[in-house]
């Protein structure tokens, strides 16, 4: 099998056009000469749309569908889908059309000897200005923190070789950063400018909860990119800064005591100094625990990825 097309149907995003979208995808690939299989992953319970989808599935026996009993992460959905399919090249799509069909074909054709994973960079976005602004800010932050060059990480559509997902450990919401994580593992990545196509994109706004989630995701990515094998570096940096603030305040207070003969015993500032030093020790010791976890639990995970053996 050449292609595995994975359609992730998220419950809250599920809308009338999804089955139509799957059908379009099916027809798009049917026109091409290469073999393909299509799998639909329904993430969470919901009878909504089920009949239409079942009708579609009955008509096409190369299309599979899986339904999770309860809502789970994208990462679990993808790993499951990967197990159920056998295509060399994996095409992942969301519940609705995010980029135009031509762009999708362009992405698929971009996979060659030199490229292992392709992600779209949506141009001429049709969603709200606020969303675009947030998206830009978010991507700029990601670029800065991970020292990468991707402009559009939040698009669900990605095309990659099977080995990419087999070698990159993703969990939770880390799928959106697949290309960055793959890059760190040494896979060759590419970003292609695509035409944005999103019919219902105009109506949605991102809420506050989504903001917090996004920032937690970015932080997780940042930590995973640089510190999984050496957590002490991260925590000790925080610890050292906090301790130094404490030490500095303490020195200041003691200098006042010695040179100006102030009474310092009841100064809140001295308490603040002690407080900061205690905080510093707490941060550093958390790093130590992290280091123990990395040493005892992370060692069987190979750090390197092998491209060739002769």
């Amino acid at each position: 099998m050449k292609y595995s097309i994975i359609v992730l149907l998220e419950l809250e995003e599920m809308f009338k056009g999804s089955v139509q979208f799957i059908q379009n995808l099916y027809e798009l690939f049917s026109k091409r000469q290469e073999s393909f299989e299509l799998i639909t992953i329904i993430n969470g319970v919901g009878d909504f749309m089920k009949d239409e989808l079942t009708a579609f599935l009955i008509r096409h026996d190369t299309v599979k569908a899986l339904e999770f009993n309860s809502k789970t992460s994208q990462a679990v959905c993808l790993k499951t889908a990967l197990k159920e399919t056998s295509g060399e090249i994996v095409v992942v799509c969301g519940s609705y059309q995010q980029i135009s069909s031509d762009s999708l074909l362009e992405l698929i054709d971009a996979i060659d000897d030199e490229v292992d994973i392709v992600t779209p960079w949506r141009q001429h976005r049709v969603d709200s200005v606020l969303n675009q602004f947030q998206s830009k800010l978010f991507n700029a932050l990601v670029r800065k923190l991970t020292a990468s060059t991707y402009h559009d990480t939040s698009c669900t559509v990605k095309v990659f070789r099977r080995e990419v997902l087999e070698n990159v450990e993703i969990y939770g919401n880390m799928y959106r950063f697949l290309s960055i994580l793959a890059d760190k593992k040494g896979f060759k990545t590419k970003e292609i400018k695509c035409e944005h196509y999103e019919q219902h994109g105009k109506s949605t706004y991102y809420g506050l909860a989504r903001y917090i989630n996004i920032f937690i995701d970015i932080f997780t990515l940042y930590f995973n990119t640089w510190f999984t094998r050496k957590p002490l570096r991260f925590f000790s940096a925080i610890g050292v800064i906090l301790s130094f603030i404490g030490l500095f305040i303490a020195l200041y207070v003691f200098a006042q005591k010695i040179f100006l003969n102030y009474s310092i015993g009841d100064r809140p500032l001295l308490l603040l100094a002690i407080f900061f030093m205690v905080l510093g020790v707490q941060a550093a010791s958390a790093g130590l625990l992290g280091e123990i976890i990395a040493f005892t639990h992370g060692r069987n995970r190979k750090e390197y990825t092998v491209e060739k053996l002769i």
Partner: protein, 352 residues
Amino acid sequence: MTTFEPKDIPLYLSIVVPLYNEEESVEKLLSNILEVTKQFDFDYEIIFVDDGSEDDTWAIIEKLKVTTPQLKAIKFRRNYGQTSAMVAGFDYARGEIIVTMDGDLQNDPSDIPLLLEKMEQGYDIVSGWRKNRKDHFSRVLPSKMANAIISFTTGVRLNDYGCSLKAYRSQYIKPLNAYGEMHRFFPALASMTGARITEVPVNHYARKYGVSKYGFERILKVFSDIFAMNLIIRFSSTPLKGFTFSSIPFFLMTVFFAILAVLSWNFQWTSGKTLFFFIAMALSGMAVVHLITLGVLGELVVGTSDLSHTKLPRYKKILMQKGEDEGLKKDQVNAKGHPLDLEVLHDKARTN
């Protein structure tokens, strides 16, 4: 694509060489190694690990492979650093003894028989010692300091931790599963499992090609690694002990402030400061509780791990008494077919 073929034929020796952008030296390196290994009367393999080179290193290795069947090569997807390159070599090596060396011609392969001789005497790790280093003073001095500190803190006294030319008995080095920048600490880490370690003076040549991949930033990194490694070695077997000991200063602080608080509260001594003493006591007491809690959590972490670090081979079968039956003695031969030096083994049994 997970292993070389054939996999399970044991060999006596594997030579592991990490290479990163060494297109000028790789050919010379192989011929130098072959010059030495052709005198060997046992089977061996040479494993080149291409650590994501950007130049033609891999193409040259592929070319060399055609004429040298005992050459194996691993290509990384990107640059992962010397530790990972060595670990990959260890993972794929079939040799009973694994020798590592630099890819930039600074080590002399003709020292390998010297290392092997020491291994035959019963040592488990033999480290090369670049007694006459051909490097600039500014590199030798920090290196000497680092060696002194590592020797002192880990208790494994070696003159040259940084020398890549080292020989390991595979049973000691393979289960380490090192990561990060640990390659400098292989002997110290292996000593956790009771490996016998020694060193021999080896030749050292100045770099001919390419630029040295070291700098001032590297020195800082090495020192922070030394610190982290020591903590890991000390904390990872009994975390609660480690954390409890580090809480002692805060415990003393708590007691100190508690006494002051009680004094000022009950005996009207510096009465304005009672609140201050209480808060200071609470803060330092918090640190004690926090550290001990983390220690307990640490015990949980270590206890639920697969304990691979405690399952490392801490023992090996040896003859406990001289003159036991022949069958046992026959087991005491290595893959090369030579009997092990029984005197040393007996000696070892006594020291253990």
